[in-house]
Symmetry: C2
Subunit: 276 residues, 2 copies
């Protein structure tokens, strides 16, 4: 029988993966600060070793355990970042699989949820295929990419989206902008934009600090955003109408068909918002 | 009988106001490039004179007509900007009312729609009260503010919102970011943010250029935004976790109760989006 060992298996995400592997007939071992089983013992007994600890502890924990991991095992992590943890896991002798489940574990199952997998140095295909098959078979949407692709994508999807929303609201604060009065005369685009920003700013600042500060690609993405903003600002400041139109059209062409789709999708949402 | 004269009354917005005043029992005169009635004659015969021409032509048209307007009349415009047109209207001898209807005239009535009014130098209260009463009575949501408040508010509601969305998409283009792949592994916040950006980028670039370039307050608002973005960027670049958390909390406190409301409102929208 294949044995899965989860380090941090008493956390929310570790607990969900424990449940899934147990339901699929695996023996699951768990090691955390509250278990008697040590990490070293868990590693010796397991075929698949999953590290499921907070972002900040992931690399230190991997560094601590790699010396004990033998060839032929599969070492896997579940962090929102991939380049750093995977480079650390590659220092072991094991096969390496980076994973990033894009959902809150409180949802309780992987059905309909997206999980990014970064398979690296897979010599023993059997173990990787087992993991991939189980998740796919339970209805997860598996997207494979390289760790670099993943971190760049998350630097945009999470880092850049959070960044522009936080900067927007902080700027409104610095301007002493009367937000209550603005809601009396709002456009739907403005309201929905603030809804997204407000949603982000209703979360834990510590989590968002880790997502932004620990992704090594985020700074270069944000720097490009500031450059783009400065370029557009110059056009507005100098009243360069042709330049503004060209910049607008370039962005629009980049989105392609999506602009029409976005208008339809947001029309539905705006109707819904107005009717609530 | 009170006579209303609309300059540009054959356009969409002018046409809507013509319909409204006619239905309310006013005599309405219209002057445009396609009518035989001249602007001068219209002004002589009207008590309320409404300028309803494209943003770019508003100030030149007001400049052209002010010499002919006598005391006791009400001069009104319908532009998305207020400081410039109102300053120009104040050079006449008439009472001055700036208005900005916050809706597309294709909607066909003012019921449930927001109209910002900037009453300036109102010596003859009767004419202003007639206009205000008619719009309120037909179900419009009237918000009064100063021209400066209006232009600052629109520089944020329209200028800043459009600016950050256009810069975001142009940045993604400059990064060669794979947007199709990103949709395979998107979070709801990211999808809705791009929906709003795509909606903006599906409109006419010329209109958006005028909205951004002709509001004199937009540059200072955008400059503050770039400053806020640079401040946050520095915290991320130098991995200043405490500084990031403080900046995040300041923005969150500025939004106040709205963050929770935004999360609830966006939860509804996200459920709607997922179920479509």
């Amino acid at each position: 029988m294949t044995v899965v060992g989860i380090i941090g298996g008493t956390g929310k995400l570790g607990g969900l993966f424990r449940k899934i592997f147990e339901e699929e007939g695996f023996e699951v071992l768990v090691s955390s600060r509250t278990t008697s089983l040590s990490k070293e013992e868990l590693i010796r007994k397991s075929d698949i070793i999953i590290v499921s600890v907070p972002i900040k502890s992931t690399i230190p924990v991997i560094r601590e355990i790699t010396p004990f991991i033998k060839e032929g095992k599969l070492l896997m992590d579940l962090t929102s970042l991939k380049v750093g943890p995977i480079n650390e896991m590659l220092k072991s002798k094991a096969d390496v699989l980076g994973a990033h489940p894009l959902f809150a574990p409180s949802i309780g199952d992987v059905k309909g949820q997206t999980i990014i997998l970064c398979p690296q140095r897979i010599s023993n295909k059997e173990l990787y295929q087992k993991v991939n098959f189980i998740l796919t078979n339970r209805g997860a949407n598996i997207v494979e990419m390289t760790p670099e692709e993943h971190d760049k994508m998350m630097a945009v999807i999470q880092g850049l989206t959070h960044f522009s929303a936080i900067a927007l609201c902080h700027c409104m604060k610095d301007l002493n902008f009367d937000i209550k009065k603005s809601f009396e005369c709002t456009s739907p685009v403005y309201r929905l934009t603030l809804d997204m920003a407000g949603r982000i700013l209703n979360q834990e600042p510590e989590l968002y600090a880790d997502i932004s500060l620990l992704n090594p690609i985020t700074p270069e993405i944000l720097l490009q955003y500031i450059k783009s903003a400065e370029t557009l600002f110059k056009k507005i400041q100098t009243k360069d109408r042709e330049g503004f139109i060209k910049f607008f059209e370039e962005a629009s062409q980049y989105l392609g068909d999506f602009t029409e789709k976005a208008e339809k999708e947001s029309n539905l949402l705006i109707k819904k918002m107005v009717s609530e």
